[in-house]
Subunit: 278 residues, 2 copies
């Protein structure tokens, strides 16, 4: 593992690291914020999954999460959103290929070789982080924005016991019924296997399984992509199964990081309560 | 004036606006955060001047200032750091020309025509902001980072009564004795007029005039440019004249926005106290 940078930040350290990933078959870069408490032993960790076009860097510099994580003694991991590099398949569209991994294991060519972001975020990167840093694998929580909110919700419901809590900012909630989902699942998972898409649809997972902890979802009323996100599908499924959850529509807010940063304190505090209770 | 964007942010609005500037003779773009309180009438304002290579955007997305400004009911202005455009003189170096205006009025060619950032920030932009938005011209304060810290300190000491308080993150403190200063003053103001450089050196201004309010300066002990910043020169001048001031060296911090964001709460609170007392 190679250290790209380490900057002092809110009394802790904001690092950027690159490692050769078995899951994706290429070098992967991630950001990790460790609060001061990590000097004395393992700390709880909040995963932040980013949206379309993002790398590990966007939320790390724009979401304003480190200050709250420092105050609450929590680490933050910022994974990349896809495999990358010259040998990695790509597409000219912003919403397919590099920067648009959608947190699935692709089964179709040309994507199957490297696009295994589910395995990377669910299995490999947690091992890398907990083995190399003072991060407690028994106290994990997860959040994300847009495509990353989709990733956070689907991972949380598919890995019971793993995460103490899940939240999302403007998540893609019902990708099997949206152009943010159908296009990518068709490419990565194949048209002929539409039944397999359900495992990556938060609204369907909520109906089938729910989540064994608290759920918090914020979406802006002026989100320019709200018709692609379909928060109503997830809210309906959560209400029908009586899921412990909070769904908020925030008046005037859009899809940007100005929205994400405005509610970051709430989300970190929400996760801190669940993590410190473990 | 043209609105580039307006995003809901911490209960207020983060806007970006472009206007034809008389001072610089080109279009200029600035960021303005207005807290919720601005809906009811003029609010105090904190100017944030950015460093080398920055536009209006860097601090607006990376400094984490809006949350604190919202909490304290203060507007934020993020000016650009130089004139820009195809007809505007430039240099291949990152520290001269576009992105490196140094907050002076250039008198030498080819810079004299557009590089009038002193007039722009001291005179024109305050008029534009206070006439078009709910911003109180009687309650202004100023801060900045690196080259912008230099700008904040020199403006504050040169315009007595204008700003209630001044602070800076890792400011260039003694440019007449530094490669961050001598090169640019030579180009913009001329080698033969070295006496005129003193009006733009915070340490010399501190020795000559001081500031009629509180001063706060933070610099990281691991700042990779500290030999160019020379905080010791300003601290010495402030101590000699018994200036009301706080100079802090922050252990482990470098020159990045991870440093700036870590201490933003302190700086906004410092200015809020001075502004709300006016």
């Amino acid at each position: 593992m190679e250290t790209q940078s380490e900057n002092a930040c809110f009394g802790g350290v904001q690092g950027v690291y690159t490692h050769a990933s078995e899951a994706t078959g290429c070098d992967m870069t991630f950001g990790l914020f460790l609060p001061a408490e990590a000097r004395d032993g393992p700390v709880p960790v909040l995963w932040y999954l980013s949206g379309l076009t993002c790398t590990h860097e966007n939320a790390m510099v724009k979401a304003g999460a480190q200050g709250w994580a420092a105050e609450m003694g929590i680490a933050l991991v910022f994974p990349d959103t896809s495999p990358r590099g010259e040998g990695v398949a790509d597409d000219d569209a912003f919403d397919l290929g590099q920067g648009a991994g959608f947190y699935v294991n692709a089964t179709q060519n040309p994507w199957a070789r490297h696009y295994r972001m589910w395995d990377y975020v669910a299995e490999e990167l947690p091992r890398v982080v907990t083995r190399n840093f003072a991060v407690d694998e028994e106290r994990q929580a997860i959040t994300g924005h847009s495509m990353g909110g989709h990733g956070a919700l689907t991972l949380a419901m598919s890995l019971p016991g793993r995460y103490a809590s899940v939240s999302a900012f403007a998540p893609i909630c019902n990708p099997t019924q949206s152009d943010w989902g159908r296009k990518q699942f068709s490419a990565y998972l194949g048209d002929e296997f539409e039944a397999a898409w359900a495992a990556h649809d938060a609204s369907l997972l909520m109906r089938e399984r729910g989540f064994d902890g608290p759920v918090l979802v914020d979406t802006g009323t002026e989100d320019q992509f709200i018709h692609l996100l379909k928060p109503e599908a997830l809210a309906t499924a959560a209400a029908e199964r009586r899921q412990r959850s909070t769904f908020r529509l925030q008046p005037g807010y859009d899809h940007s990081y100005f929205f994400v940063s405005s509610f970051m304190e709430d989300h970190v505090a929400f996760h801190a309560e669940a993590l410190h209770a473990r």
